[in-house]
Symmetry: D2
Subunit: 335 residues, 4 copies
């Protein structure tokens, strides 16, 4: 058995805590350092999962005691933290998005590339067993040529108006996961068109954002991707996919929360609502994401999405934003 990888966790909010638990639970990894300017959060995590605590991420990166850094801090800090980590030669797994500003991402791009240090992006859904299985089966030719990919992604309820204001908009904040999922199947997207409206959320209206959106992507192969997004869903977190190919179709249903169905005089075979939100729906995916990143750090063959994938998703989100606001079809070049 190999020595466990020592992780430095930067950021101890909701998603940071998920990663802390995954790191602690996996015998291949251990939580060595935790940093958060809100140091009480870091202490709380350390109490549950171990690790040294600091309020300064630079101390963590410079400690000489971490083999990998997991960046789960607010988006505006990502670019600098990635830069610092790769400067120190430490591999990074960074939560999406890299940044809301493509210019800052593009500035970082050669730095990452030239460093040779592995940088992975936290597109956890690629590691969901269902989506990963569809990807593998499409790759194996089980449905022939992939011609249409439909992704439905609806959050249970809209975020607070204050968050909407700093989120970068629905495309950069929420659709970015679906845009990466599209590229998981069809990396070479050449065109984006998006339609967005604000039909229920005052927060979205107030900030000129959308709460309801539809994105169409065209791939170089001619395959077409349709993404359907909403900031709310009365039936629970709605995460589905349909891969349509020349020889068949693979569909991912919502995860049932119970095996029990009820039939009565008014409705038959009704089941309880879907899962609450992403922490439940993607619990397995977060753990698998970590395992895959661990392989990357160890120099093994790994399918972790890269910095380039993170950048590509942002380029697509920017294109969707421009398309939806300027009402144009936007060609993209991800090379």
């Amino acid at each position: 058995m190999t020595t466990p990888l020592r992780f430095g966790l930067i950021g101890t909010g909701r998603i940071g805590q998920v990663h802390a638990a995954s790191i602690a639970a996996d015998p291949e990894t251990t939580l060595a350092w935790i940093s958060d300017p809100f140091v009480d959060g870091a202490h709380a995590v350390a109490e549950r999962f171990g690790g040294r605590v600091t309020d300064d991420s630079a101390e963590l990166i410079g400690s000489g005691e971490v083999d990998a850094v997991l960046v789960a801090s607010p988006t505006p800090t990502h670019v600098d933290l990635i830069a610092a980590a790769v400067a120190a030669g430490i591999p990074v797994l960074c939560e999406k998005p890299i940044d809301l500003d493509i210019a800052r991402v593009d500035a970082l791009r050669p730095v990452v590339r030239d460093s040779g240090v592995p940088v992975a992006l936290g597109f956890n859904r690629r590691f969901d067993p269902a989506f990963a299985s569809v990807r593998a089966r499409v790759g194996a030719g089980e449905i022939g040529e992939l011609e249409q990919l439909s992704i439905v992604s609806r959050d249970p309820s809209a975020p607070p108006a204050a968050y909407v204001g700093v989120s970068g908009g629905i495309f950069r904040d929420m659709s970015i996961h679906d845009l990466d999922m599209a590229r998981f199947f069809l990396p070479d997207i050449v065109e984006v068109v998006a339609t967005g409206t604000a039909v229920f959320d005052d927060g979205a209206r107030e900030h000129g954002d959308f709460d309801t959106a539809s994105i169409t992507l065209r791939a170089a192969s001619g395959a077409i991707v349709t993404i359907t997004n909403s900031r709310h869903s009365a039936v629970g977190y709605d995460q589905r996919m349909e891969a349509f190919g020349s020889r068949g179709m693979l569909q991912v249903a919502n995860a049932p929360t119970s095996l029990v169905s009820l039939s009565t005089a008014t409705v038959v075979e009704g089941r309880p609502p879907y899962q609450e939100f992403f922490l439940e729906r993607y619990a397995e995916a977060y753990a698998a994401e970590l395992r895959e990143f661990t392989k990357l750090v160890r120099g093994e063959r790994s399918t972790s999405p890269t910095f380039e994938d993170g950048r590509a998703a942002l380029v697509l989100a920017d294109a969707a934003q421009r398309s939806a606001t300027e009402r144009v079809v936007v060609p993209v070049d991800l090379a």
Copy 2:
């Protein structure tokens, strides 16, 4: 194209009307004569579907104008009508059961056999596309050896108490369809055990009958059949089957009444209740039953259930009745 078969319909109640419509709709058959002591009923049928009318079935049978007789009159008349028809050399399709008294059936048995005149029994469910498909696929070995057959059959609501009193009991009146279905798959049943209770229907209690029952049959092959019956079902007519074999399982679901499902904050993927009752559920089966009987009359290869099948189902129903009342396991010999 052959000349249409001229049918004489005896009995114009609910099921008689179904058959009248089928006969009229099928270009292979025509409704020539209709008899019912309640002659207004016969006239009403004739008005819609054509045919001459009489209140006397003997006139119909003796008319020389019918090629086949369809007996849809009350059960106590079946034996004499079959006897009269075969005496006249006219093939008969008789609604189940032949009679409630096995002694009368057994007395008729050699008469039918010796006459050489085709007598078919109205076990319509054999002709349901779903059940027929399962039967064919089991026969083709698609699930290997058939080891367990489960039949669920629940009526939407209990019949009137007066009817319960003359019905012959739940086993002879209702389960008889399921007992025949068991024999459709496994003709050679060697043992019957049944449990019945009266848990909701005062009519059943009053007449010493059951409203809820479970029957287990053992086939010569070792396969086991389980029949689950209830005289009511809040969710609508409940007609399901599961054929379990050494290599797989074929299941028949209830027929949906709509392709639409509703998902809300409290229940997802709920659908409207199942079909009302047998007229809706088995509409196609009645038509197919008639087509198959027509083949039998024409001397073609036919899968119509025979007089012997009708007798065997009654023997099993009698055994179930005895088992349920005397609390014994009852060996049967259907030869």
Copy 3:
């Protein structure tokens, strides 16, 4: 009971034959005249369902013996036939589309309006029990405000290349049904964007057409409609819908062709493929469409789609065509 409406059927191809059968089967209607330049086709229909035959539609319209005209002839003849019928004061049910050229439709528009003669369009899917039920339930507020409508419509296989060349393209030929379905729910569409590619069909490529397409519509209310089309589908005719509202979701599944599912060591709960094509899938819808048109002719309250609906669908199809070829977002004004 009222006197049956006397129909004149113009065109006896596949869809004309469907209508002939519906007219003959409905006691409210009768097939009086049949015209087709290919007069053998007309004779064949007359033999099965009755009616006088001509190879000249003018004779039919001028016969004084038809109360309504059903136009099921090739698309280029529709405008003149509608004009002739309304000139004769005879109500028309015309198969979609009115024409492939909006200019001709617009020229006919005031003629129809000023005539006061009812002209209905054959958007049969509005009468499908499942789609009609969803429409009614959305209208009744069962899922709150309608925010997103997703329509999937895939034909079993691509038409012959020769047909593709005269079809007007996938949007005017195939998507037009879905565009009308969108307007069934959200009549006031204000914007169209479409993406089309040719990924498998040489016929489409040859004629500069698409075999795969995605259309996004924006309604005045802010609701967004997504239409997913393909000219082929390995799994059978694929006709689904999802109406997503503020309080829930109504979904229309594909029609099963059997109640039977098979489970084996490699796959569980598998069912046979979906229905072959529209004649099976929309059999009930065609009959209901006719009943509703009969009401319209009789001056009763009717929900038949009108000439204006036919025009609106074509405007949307044109917009989709322009969007897909010029890569622009197209505002539309259906007033």
Copy 4:
């Protein structure tokens, strides 16, 4: 937070290892001692989850260092181990069955009762979220009066012939779980009838056992329970239930192993086979069972099945065995 309960685990086979993992994972419990005559097994468990090791269960019970004993050793040792533990005043969670011989169980019965020491039986399925939910909903009256309960339970494949010989037979070894499940809903069973056959397993034939069985139970309320068992299932572990009541029906489906379904030209909506076996299917149930037993030990309100439940299930299994071999209906008195 309370001090963790110190567990002594007796037996480190497959099920003992499951319990060891649960004990280690639950912060309320800790693994203090482990005994197994095959001491290497005990050491292996200790290495993963901690705890002192002995080959002598008496040392464990007498150590003074265990607050509760978990008996996961072979069935013939259960009675003596329960006796020893209660003599030492230590609560016991014992795997089913208590013993294969009801006389030994009845001899132990007053000892347990008089001791006042909690003894729980490992009927894990009561703690499965799906079955527990149905039980709670039936108890809350959601489907009115419970009238029929159907349990399907099929193992993936038959055990080795050698095991069959010492298993006590299918009813005591396998059906006992379903018999307890029946009593979970309907404790007051008054009658048993069972049919068993050997249709595929030479091991069963060799030992006069059955591989296929059907059991019908009658409850004092008149409700009827049907249990369908098989020692093999090509489609995977088959664990379903249907609770049918006067106002509706609750159904438990098999647990899907994936959210993905495949549709092709030959089969639509097919999914991968069900779970392998009980370790996967009931993983959550084992952990919940332990939590509930912990409450029992702490003197809190607990729903752990008791020694009496263990005895009742054996009485029913004995009755089923007698019914199936002597072909009689067997009245039972569980008081």
